[in-house]
Symmetry: D2
């Protein structure tokens, strides 16, 4: 029996050779692939914050939140045009009109944009407007969608399924990677546990962060908004995620969440002021991440010998 907690390297080599660290020793013990979407990069230097509305609701709403996000220090704009909703009777997003608004708002403030694509038939359309495609938690194992996202050539933000193992998550990334697209950012967004509901909607699983660092060279960010589901928990979760070694955050904001609640996930939107404090937490740290290298992979002798990653050339 593998000791509880230790990564099963054999499984990684079999399930996801293109994205696993053990199969790509060129990245060394803690080196990350840099994923770039427009002006923002993940996995290089300081963590980057993505912020914006849960759903694009109107031009005014989106522009004002884009401005607020920019002013608070976010580096990328988020916003849903196609919303995966539990009930078909809930607001489903503005569709292509939403994509146009998001793109224009990003242009207006000078931020690249990321938005979710759920329908394999719409990958091309979404890719026209977005700098990065988001694969949502419910779509993590929508394999045809992963393949098309890979083919789009766009960087992909791959959220963890709410009950996905690390192996399943990296297997999903492998579907994208096999299309020649390694521009993948993994996003921990909270798992379903018995605790969910009592004091948070999901359970933010930060043990996954150093484990992913060991298992893959892909950058890892966290979504404290969905992981908590409650605005009052987002700042604490953001700080914890950053301190654990995340390469970025994905955060939902609203100008006046209480008096003028957004049309979806209203309870988890934080104000631009709180967002500003979170960005400042990043700015005042500016510390090295060398500790992660040391703790995650005590021995990686191949790193020096193999200066260029194996997979970057070969897998694409």
């Amino acid at each position: 029996m593998k000791p509880a907690g230790q990564i099963d390297t054999e499984s990684l080599l079999r399930v996801c050779p293109a994205v696993s660290r053990p199969a790509n020793p060129g990245y060394g013990a803690a080196g990350r692939l840099t994923v770039t979407a427009g002006s923002v990069s993940f996995g290089a230097g300081q963590p980057a914050v993505i912020a914006g509305p849960c759903a694009v609701e109107s031009w005014e709403q989106t522009l004002s939140l884009a401005q607020a996000a920019r002013a608070a220090g976010a580096r990328m704009l988020r916003g849903g045009a196609y919303k995966p909703r539990t009930s078909p009777h809930d607001f489903q997003g503005l569709g292509e009109e939403g994509l146009r608004i998001l793109h224009a708002a990003g242009q207006a403030v000078g931020l690249p944009v990321v938005t979710e694509v759920m329908d394999v038939r719409l990958v091309e359309t979404v890719a026209q407007y977005a700098d990065m495609l988001q694969i949502g938690s419910r779509s993590m194992q929508n394999f045809p969608l992963l393949v098309e996202a890979g083919r789009s050539g766009k960087p992909v933000l791959l959220k963890r399924g709410m009950a996905a193992t690390l192996c399943e998550w990296l297997g999903a990334a492998e579907y994208i990677a096999l299309q020649g697209n390694l521009q993948i950012v993994l996003c921990e967004r909270g798992i379903r546990s018995f605790a969910a509901g009592e004091y948070s909607r999901f359970t933010l699983d930060l043990n996954a962060v150093p484990a992913l660092r060991e298992a893959t060279f892909l950058p890892v960010i966290a979504d404290p908004s969905h992981a908590t589901g409650l605005a009052a928990r987002v700042e604490s979760a953001s700080r914890a995620a950053l301190a654990s070694g995340c390469d970025g955050l994905l955060i939902e904001i609203a100008l006046q969440p209480e008096t003028c609640p957004p049309r979806c996930d209203a309870l988890q939107a934080i104000t631009p002021e709180t967002l500003r404090r979170i960005v400042r937490f990043i700015e005042t740290r500016r510390e090295s991440m060398d500790w992660l290298a040391g703790s995650a992979c005590p021995s990686a002798p191949d790193a020096e010998r193999s200066p260029r990653p194996r997979s970057l050339e070969s897998s694409s």
Copy 2:
């Protein structure tokens, strides 16, 4: 229906009035009770680190780890004399001999000590040697034990049961508090989730930290050793726990975990060097925790009106 994630204040008032924040407005929105055990305090000022061996195995082992813990900046010494083991065939601890060793080692280096008590008949004995009694995860709802720990007059470290809700956890604290003993520190030590085993033994649940800040005035620490079960994850988890707002950490160490593994939980023991880095993470921050107050309890109008806590003196 209560929105998912929001604390159910009514339940708190019914289940645990003595330890819940809503029933004790004197503590304000984020004020904590200061719990003091010998020279160390929790809930006042900077987070405090407790470190030491999983189990007391010998005088030499314990003394050398006490010295190492002290040198690394720990403020309290831990060590098990009575070990709760899954199998009766596993090492069960040295018993009272272990208590004597732990106590002497703490004296030798000038650190107060905390150790687990499992058997209600041994509370008095353990209290003779320990500055603080630890109630382990498996004993969180051992109600007779909680009552005796409360009566001992010693401060109590109350670990969360591995599948305990927040309400059950605070209900357990209430059993202690009703004996007139509010010197209780809560310790998040990882929950059982579907993810447990693949890359960590348990799932560190940091969403509980701001939730507890809202629900109770008791200090909260985290145990990154049990929450991860693997040395390579402990530093990341420690940093995350501290950034989330914890008042301290409980960490297992060993001098040479790989060449000379401890007799229990060998895989999770970190070296004194890693411990030193974790303490330095605390020292270099020294930031205010005001953000927790703001985010956890946006409105606490009663705080001003009721300058002194109902139950005990406040730390704020």
Copy 3:
């Protein structure tokens, strides 16, 4: 607070009025919609067993298993042509060739067939060959796929997502139903819990069966193969599912699972002999399900007043 365990009727009325029992009092307290696919019906009379290979691998394999399934008393043939696999390096199914084989094998032995569709672009193709479309666990919230499955006019077998709440599951059914297609069978297939892996792959959640009976009028079956992941547990799980009130079972079989293992999920395939025993368990019971009516919904006064269901004809 809603008492733990009690169905939240308000949520049902909001999330899934088309498929919920409270919104469709014509079905009475326990009446079910009859869903018919070719010669087999679910929700009327005795439970029906669906059996066949995990994946269609060849004409010989599929035909022999179809014959064995038929001989053992199964009423419908299953078999995957498009397989959702964790890794892209695993066998992905034979695609349309697999559909042709499955359809022909079903014709040869006189059984209707059900097979999974994962790709929204393939719904039409799959619908040409299949008597019933299966939406797999990983696709339960693939909303565009649900819509197209609804539009196909084919009956749909909707598996529960491995971490889906009952509300999310019925919300998924609502997406299908809103396309004018109420021919939906729900399939419990095991949830992810901390217990998963130690002695079964998933945790069969039979508490969901009476809860679904209360929440919806759609028939409910169980998949003991995926819920256990191990052949040695399938018979016990099948019997339990039937006794709990299920309207059918979905079971994977192989002729010689040990000497000639199938290409996917080899460990969970049972032999035709075990299948025969499971069918016999149904045949020898032939008892009334009136007890389910009584226990699930003690009072349903509207049933008498509203003799015809709002949405479709009732089975009761």
Copy 4:
């Protein structure tokens, strides 16, 4: 890696040799130890039902429920005198007075009684009144209590911890067995999962039943009352548990649960009428359990060769 779902025999041999089947081949592939408490036996012949109030509240209540249980076909009376309650402010049971009442009620109707002991100091007292000691879910890893229960010489009903692995559960049984007491009945009572709360309080885990049959020779029963937490789910869960191969049930009843609710766990008490239907489900089956032998342990060649169990002579 051990395939998911397969019992880890090596762990069993190390953790719990005294109670594991692999270490005691004399029991054969499916043979069970018979555990006898007064006039009732578990593991031999037909499943036995234990029924009674959650808590002993008064002589009248207990006697009338004992009569009702007896009339409905129950073979043993249950009732709590010491109640483990989440909050110290909740009803804690009548204590020794409750023991006296329970014992007298059992005598009056001719049923042996089982009741929970939580406090290691009260084992002797409880053993004076009870025919069987119950170790509750919260006490499953109260190791000193397990040892004293073992020493009492009384048969022990060992409930599963709500987040206990099978290995931990059998390790707990081993603590009892090492005191020379193999009269242990295991009781599955529902686990904590993400599903808990929405439509049941816990998740009844019947996959554990055939797994336990493979891992141990101890009899296994189920507690559908706690596993569901809701009266409307108890009958379905009872039937499922029996069909899965359980050796008995532990059920809470009340005469008029709605108009005159019991003082604890009021929502899960069923009426004697429902209890009668459950007992009838057992009586009308009277089928062989040979299927369990076949499916759980396909090969057990040692069974014939070793006619008497290795570990104890006396219990069979």
